[in-house]
Amino acid sequence: MIEIENVKKSFGSLTVLDGVSLSVNTGEVVSIIGGSGSGKSTLLMCINGLEAIQGGRILVDGVEVHAAGTDLNKLRQKIGIVFQQWNAFPHLTVLENVTLAPRKVLKMSRAEADAIAVRQLEHVGLGDKLKAFPGKLSGGQQQRMAIARALAMSPKYMLFDEVTSALDPQLVGEVLDTMRLLAKEGMTMIVVTHEMGFAREVSDRVAFFKSGKIHEIGSPQQIFESPQTPETRAFLNSVL
């Protein structure tokens, strides 16, 4: 379970998160929607401790992420994250991209890591690209590889940070299909997205972010069909 309690975050004088509270249960898919610069992506970075926070706290399975004694390297093993810019490691093959962390962080043998990586890569439809370097893949393929790379660590939670925003429109579908599959398999996911159709289809809850706060949260039906606030309504009118 991920518990976010009154989290505040600022970069200098710019407040990015202004008291965000949210808890995500195991097996739940929560989508976060909202305009650019509303703090959605920053929240994900805070959940796995890539960004410091200035107030409140975040608990992952009861462990406080930003507490002094927390072993972040260990904690991050159960939180997979996929970025907007997929961040493939260009000097490694697709297979090596996926096996590196299981081998070096989880200390698996090469054979063990290879078996897991091949399974994950087949899962995302890249079983025939094992030996290719990321530079030879399309953006969608690289993004699916990044998903496989995160999944190879057998995370309990997956965070997706606008993973389709940098893709050509015709490649968006393949990445969303992969995420849909994960959601069906019961993965706990927090998905920051601009894909409203997707958010509506796979989410258990949808949160609308505005000015560093969760402005409204509810079931997809509530948010998309009967939004409670004029801000949510205005945002949805502008994107749908």
Binding site: N73, Q77, H91, V105
Partner: protein, 221 residues
């Protein structure tokens, strides 16, 4: 126009001795390069630190290495340290001098190279559970070597040629040292140094070629 008769035979007869010297030269260059790269990476990282106690010594090293003659740096390692009671033999003093110089130049090359590697690479690595050291050595460093590969090869050639300065601290086993000894005994200056020049050229080409092969093997992406 000039009144000089070339005598190539004695010079060519000394070729085995010169080749021995060539090996010493190569050894010096390779050692100074390997140690120089290691120090260069550390210096480049130290210069990125915000703590003045860490970045200041690195800055001093880089500034001195790059803005004073290599000859003086080698003198300091031999005569300077000698006066402080640290007596090094010429080989070691030369190695220290060239390595000091190499590390200074390489540190700047690496610093530029590090900027070319997006921060997001480190971020992606850390998010997978890698510690800072692992993220650097497994993800950043291999990419860095590719970015700086050509300037690094240039520096290697420069290091080879700089080893000829060993003669000023009495080194007589490297190529220039051997040739200098032969020269003072026979005064066939032109012949000996011409052959030495060809050998230096060949070492430089050999090293560049080796580096290219290595790059071809390593950087297949």
């Amino acid at each position: 126009m000039f009144n000089y008769t070339f005598h190539w035979r004695p010079a060519l007869q000394a070729l085995p001795q010169m080749l021995q010297g060539t090996l010493v030269t190569l050894q010096l260059a390779i050692l100074s390069m390997i140690i120089g790269v290691a120090f260069g990476v550390v210096l480049a990282l130290m210069r990125q630190s915000k703590n003045p106690l860490i970045h200041f010594p690195a800055t001093v090293w880089v500034e001195v290495a790059r803005n004073t003659p290599a000859l003086l740096q080698i003198y300091m390692a031999y005569f300077g340290l000698g006066q402080l009671g640290i007596r090094l033999d010429s080989f070691v003093a030369l190695l220290i001098g060239i390595t000091f110089n190499n590390a200074g130049y390489l540190a700047e090359t690496f610093r530029g190279g590090l900027r070319a590697i997006p921060q997001t690479q480190t971020r992606a690595a850390r998010s997978l559970g890698f510690g800072a050291y692992q993220a650097f050595t497994l993800i950043v460093l291999p990419q860095l070597f590719r970015v700086v590969f050509h300037p690094m090869t240039n520096q290697m050639v420069w290091a080879i040629l700089m080893t000829s300065l060993g003669v000023v601290v009495g080194l007589n086993t490297d190529l220039t040292g051997v040739v200098q000894d032969l020269n003072v005994r026979t005064f066939r200056t032109f012949e000996y140094f011409a052959i030495a020049a060809v050998l230096y050229y060949l070492i430089a080409k050999f090293v560049t070629l080796g580096a290219r092969l290595l790059a071809w093997r390593l950087f297949r992406y």
